[in-house]
Symmetry: C2
């Protein structure tokens, strides 16, 4: 059969990295690759209680029937109250759309805001999943100058800001770099967005994972009319539920509701109700600090191991929250090639090159420290460090390879 694929489908390439990473599902591999939350944080007992409550309260018919595209109303009301309180703002439930994981939010936003050639501003580097969603609608990416604190609003040209369909930004503990945008830059960015009628797509799956519990104001609170805020339950409850949400003004939400109806009618009714019953009475207030403690500890374990084992030519950031450390290798080490050998030594990571929209840097890697227990973190980093040392030495001694 000769399928008549669309241009966007023909442009899809099967990813070599994706194929390599399939190996990491084997249990004997120490994988720093997937951004998989620690299963220790999954609230199994609370989910069981929520399910039993739904049965006992005779809510199962509602949980199994078709539901509204906008989402389960009590969950939207709860979120509006929770976010308004947390962020000292005023959000109403009609501004909230429940989605099937925040990956779906990225797809719906691409559908709503991108035509072929539309200009989309992204961080350097940026989240691979965002690029995957947006690329299907054929934008032109503009990678913004960024440093270890995130994008630099000062150097963003007003003409470029005014012409862009939106800017995609992850201010808190960014995927892949783990960096957090400082308050002053948030304020500059919000100001620039308002001045140039620029839409900010603020993706915030990691915002609650601040190790000190010290939350910086969201872009949404600084420029509410310009910002589309994306939240997720994947990192604070469980990713297998596939539950996220979008907050924006009602005009935009109404468009996204129509697009979501065509995409999957609605997010599963059962998982929405389970999440609602788990969180409605303050569960997150005690649960989130436990996740922060675990991840802070694992982060410190990895930082200690990096300090102990890595050669001095390797550098990395020190995250204040989230799930990732970003490593820069000597310029002549290609992280994708390194991965092939690391896999043979049963250690995995994600090479940095997939996270760049324009100019690609090949000497970077993303390490997730949340999935693997402490003793394995130490062991995995030690193996990686030995390989990198070996490669560095070999490259020094072989001038033709430089």
């Amino acid at each position: 059969m000769l399928w008549k694929f669309s241009n966007r489908a023909m442009a899809l390439k099967s990813s070599a990295i994706r194929e390599i990473l399939k190996i990491t599902e084997q249990p004997d591999v120490i994988s720093f690759a997937g951004g998989l939350p620690s299963p220790n944080t999954f609230p199994v007992t609370e989910i069981k209680n929520a399910f039993n409550h739904i049965i006992a309260a005779d809510e199962m018919t509602g949980a199994l029937q078709y539901g509204p595209t906008e989402g389960y109303a009590p969950l939207r009301i709860w979120l509006a109250q929770y976010l308004s309180r947390r962020d000292h703002t005023n959000i109403n439930p009609n501004q909230i759309l429940i989605v099937t994981g925040s990956q779906q939010a990225l797809d719906l936003i691409g559908k709503a805001l991108i035509d072929k050639g539309s200009k989309v501003l992204v961080e350097t580097p940026t989240y691979l999943g965002g690029l995957q969603s947006f690329t299907q609608y054929e934008p032109e990416y503009i990678s913004l100058e960024s440093d270890e604190q995130g994008i630099i609003p000062d150097v963003l040209d007003d003409n470029i800001a005014a012409k862009a369909n939106f800017m995609y930004v992850i201010p808190n503990f960014q995927n892949p770099t783990g960096r957090r945008l400082p308050l002053a830059r948030r304020q500059q960015l919000a100001k620039k967005a308002i001045a140039n009628n620029l839409t900010l797509v603020e993706d915030d799956p990691y915002g609650e994972l601040d190790y000190q519990g010290h939350r910086l104001p969201s872009l949404y609170t600084l420029a509410p009319e310009n910002t589309i805020y994306l939240g997720s339950f994947s990192k604070i409850l469980a990713p297998g539920l596939r539950l996220g949400y979008i907050v924006a003004n009602e005009e935009l939400i109404n468009k996204l509701v129509q697009l979501k109806q065509a995409a999957d009618l609605h997010t599963p009714s059962l998982t929405q109700r389970i999440a609602y019953h788990v969180i409605k009475d303050g569960f997150l207030e005690t649960h989130i600090p436990k996740i922060r403690d675990l991840y802070r500890h694992r982060c410190q374990t990895m930082l200690n191991a990096l300090q102990r084992y890595m050669p001095t030519t390797v550098t990395w950031n020190k995250p204040e929250g989230g799930m990732f450390i970003w490593i820069e290798l000597p310029k002549n080490i290609n992280a994708t090639e390194l991965l092939s050998e690391a896999i043979q030594h049963k250690v995995a990571f994600v090479p940095g090159e997939t996270f760049f929209a324009n100019t690609i840097h090949t000497n970077c890697m993303r390490l997730a420290f949340v999935t693997v227990p402490e003793e394995k973190i130490e062991q995995g980093v030690s193996i990686l460090a030995q390989l990198i040392t070996k490669w560095s030495d070999a490259l020094e001694q072989s001038p033709t390879m430089i």
Copy 2:
């Protein structure tokens, strides 16, 4: 804020019918509108047992963690065996992609196979949700000549077949008409598809709801290389789980997997595992006959009521399965206008006009007979019949309106 909407988003109109139908959620309305399965068919006890099994067997971590985009492997293996046995064919698990309801299948197929201006062949009328998904990728629709048995393959021009990116067809108890495509036409259509390298998108959510248990061969079995088969658990388990699946050759499935990864990463792990544990030991073999019995009975109740109450100028089909009856009113009655008055009398239906891709017929309506208990079916049809009689009389006496 001036959102920079894409062309596809700007083309979306808020649907007047959708607004009217929101009223039908009130409990005192007799609604024949939504195609909502009867809650009596939801396997609540089995779902509870499946959930408890997942807890007891320590499978909850897997049910709450990120999972493969392709779907939960045991469910794919089970489906491959079930479908191979049911349809006397040979499907392997790599040919199966689990989706978040078969509405998502329609969206992914639109993404994979439609560029702006691509020709998509559809039945007259066809499923509204299919049109909603495909339209976002800006195809040119060609509505095929159809009669009370479905599309007429004989009159389909070979040039048109050869140029089309695909044909969208619902052979079993079609939404909205309830009609079933006869065996001879299926064979003709398969032959024509093979001869013209035409892709058939076979949407089959209602195939199991055959009142006599007499299944006709699917297009997939007649032209497996040409056909993308869409199945759903919404009508045989519960729609709130949002579980469907796609069967096709592996080349196509691989493309759809990449597109699904960008759309929502994967279908929720928990709902997939619940469905698997409910069905894996033969549950459907006893459950589906019960659904058929209930729906056959409700269908007959509605047919009897139509026969008893409707004026002779109104015609309808007699479904052999599924959930819908399609009504043709006298030509000068506009069903959308009729709906506005029917709602005031607490009865709802879906006007037929939304189901046409090209030339619109305004004197049709779709009645779903599965949601409402028998006594309400009789009452609702009686109210509708009185209104239609009143409108017919008024139109006869008012020649200026003809």
